[in-house]
């Protein structure tokens, strides 16, 4: 049963060492810390990190690692060759749990970027049943086409799309997330779509209460940080 969830961005710049001398987004990292602290304080039996990647699969938290050197080779030597490299979203999520001092059971669930909604729903239902008190740390982003300076340039439809997602998270309106248009999301470079749908399905028809901690797009990508609890 899902008891709590935290929603955080999966942006590389969440990693402090990737932004150079300037922290650039300290408030974003702080909001993530607060969301994950709240998640851990919900005393879950297990935390499942959900992040979007190339495929749908489970990763072994004991052997697979976050590796930032593909983003910044100067950061040092990558993990040993036998170690698997986590998809960034899962690596960043795992790091947030580490930083929150969470040492309990964790699972790492990658969701394929093109996974259709019905498969996301099925996955969400499975994850909700992992333990009596399951928590999800959902690493997901909105559109990367929110301005002319955005990574994907401006798409006028992005504002309405992200506003709808934001409203759904704020209101605990899970059906809206389940009904998101996957094709539109892909066109808007809203990479979080499958992860949101896993979250929505894991709520199992209940309406979470939510606290939005951050909702902005400082670099043209919509970042939404929120805490959800399912009573």
């Amino acid at each position: 049963m899902l008891t709590a969830a935290a929603l955080c961005p999966a942006a590389p710049l969440l990693a402090r060492e990737l932004t150079g001398a300037d922290p650039v987004v300290p408030e974003l990292r702080q909001a993530c810390r607060e969301a994950v602290d709240a998640l851990v304080q919900a005393s879950p039996d297990v935390v499942v990190v959900v992040g979007v990647g190339d495929q749908t699969r489970i990763w072994d938290a004991a052997t697979a690692q976050l590796d930032l050197t593909p983003y910044a080779p100067a950061l040092g030597t990558p993990p040993a060759a036998q170690a698997e490299t986590l998809p960034l979203a899962l690596g960043l999520g795992g790091r947030l749990l580490d930083e929150a001092g969470y040492h309990g059971p964790r699972e790492l669930q990658e969701v394929g970027a093109d996974e259709p909604a019905p498969d996301c729903v099925a996955l969400g239902a499975v994850l909700a049943q992992v333990a009596p008190r399951t928590a999800l740390l959902v690493m997901a982003d909105g559109s990367a086409r929110r301005s002319r300076k955005a990574p994907g340039y401006l798409d006028e439809r992005s504002a309405a799309f992200d506003a709808e997602v934001g409203r759904a998270i704020r209101d605990g309106d899970m059906p809206t997330l389940l009904a998101l248009d996957a094709r539109l999301a892909r066109e808007l470079m809203a990479t979080g779509r499958p992860a949101w749908q896993v979250l929505a399905a894991a709520a199992s028809g209940r309406r979470p209460a939510s606290l939005v901690r951050y909702d902005d797009d400082p670099f043209g990508v919509a970042y939404l940080i929120a805490s959800l609890t399912v009573g």
Partner: protein, 286 residues
């Protein structure tokens, strides 16, 4: 660690040494800071543009009208004292080969004695030791102060640079100069033709590999001018290219006229080398 004055500078942190000539006749923009007010303005601007060290000199490197020790001290000692009083934290260097001038400079507050003439006056090291000041050990071949090279030749100029600068460093140590305050300078153009200075630039890594901090003085010099066939006022780009190569090879101190541009070049190279983080990285990471 390199120590200058009260500061300790780790490897990988490039330092800009701004030239402030108290002379009417130096080769680059002659007389620009001969007037005291202009010299103070130059210091203020250099610090604002990112200079770490102010290098005050009272005698041109080139031959010309005689400047005796009394006149040299008159030109720089009071000025150094005034800078020290206005900027208690800036590192001050005195560009001199004479121990009498070095003593007056240290008494006025200088932290480093920049001996461009290769230990011609051996007592300069004694003064550095006495005051706990730093000392630059430069290669000038067989040149006497304020002389130009005439048909100089070396079997291997870089080997000569290594031998002469290391010999001076050992002498400085023996005189009691603190080991973390000794700097080597291959001294481009001093006792060298353009081919020699280019070779020294190309092979500067052999000098930085000694582990001693290396100063390079490249700014608008003749080896740049002869390489590009340009007069002093048009040598900035060439200077910056040589600066970048020297920084890549691990030089630590850059003695310059143009502080702002040099600061950007050495910081950029330090960032490419990975010695310095980029200021702010967001591109592709949002």
């Amino acid at each position: 660690m390199l120590r200058l004055g009260k500061h300790a500078f780790p490897p990988g942190q490039p330092l800009i040494m701004a030239i402030v000539n108290r002379t009417p006749d130096s080769f680059f923009e002659p007389g620009m800071t001969w007037a005291e007010s202009a010299a103070y303005e130059r210091v203020e601007q250099a610090i604002a543009e990112g200079a770490d060290i102010i290098d005050v000199g009272g005698i041109p490197a080139a031959p010309g009208s005689d400047v005796d020790v009394v006149e040299e001290i008159r030109r720089i000692a009071g000025f150094i004292a005034a800078i020290r009083s206005r900027y208690p934290d800036i590192v001050i260097s005195a560009d001199t080969w004479r121990h009498e001038t070095g003593r007056a400079a240290c008494e006025a507050g200088a932290d480093l004695l920049n001996d461009s003439w290769g230990g011609f006056d051996e007592q300069l090291a004694d003064v550095a030791a006495e005051f706990g000041a730093g000392l630059v050990c430069a290669h000038v071949g067989n040149q006497r102060p304020r002389t130009r090279p005439f048909r100089v030749a070396y079997p291997d100029v870089m080997a000569d640079v290594l031998a002469q600068t290391l010999r001076q460093a050992r002498r400085a140590l023996a005189a009691g100069v603190q080991p973390d305050r000794i700097v080597l300078d291959p001294a481009h153009d001093f006792g060298k033709n353009t081919w020699h200075s280019l070779e020294v630039t190309r092979r500067l890594a052999e000098l930085t590999a000694t582990g001693w901090p290396v100063l390079v003085s490249l700014s608008n010099k003749d080896f740049v001018g002869e390489s590009l066939d340009l007069p002093p006022e048009h040598r900035l780009s060439g200077t910056l290219a040589a600066t970048a190569v020297s920084a890549w090879h691990g030089a630590r101190i850059f003695r310059v006229h143009q502080v702002l541009q040099s600061r950007q070049v050495v910081d950029m190279v330090a960032t490419i080398r990975g010695d310095r983080p980029p200021a702010r990285t967001v591109r592709g990471l949002a």
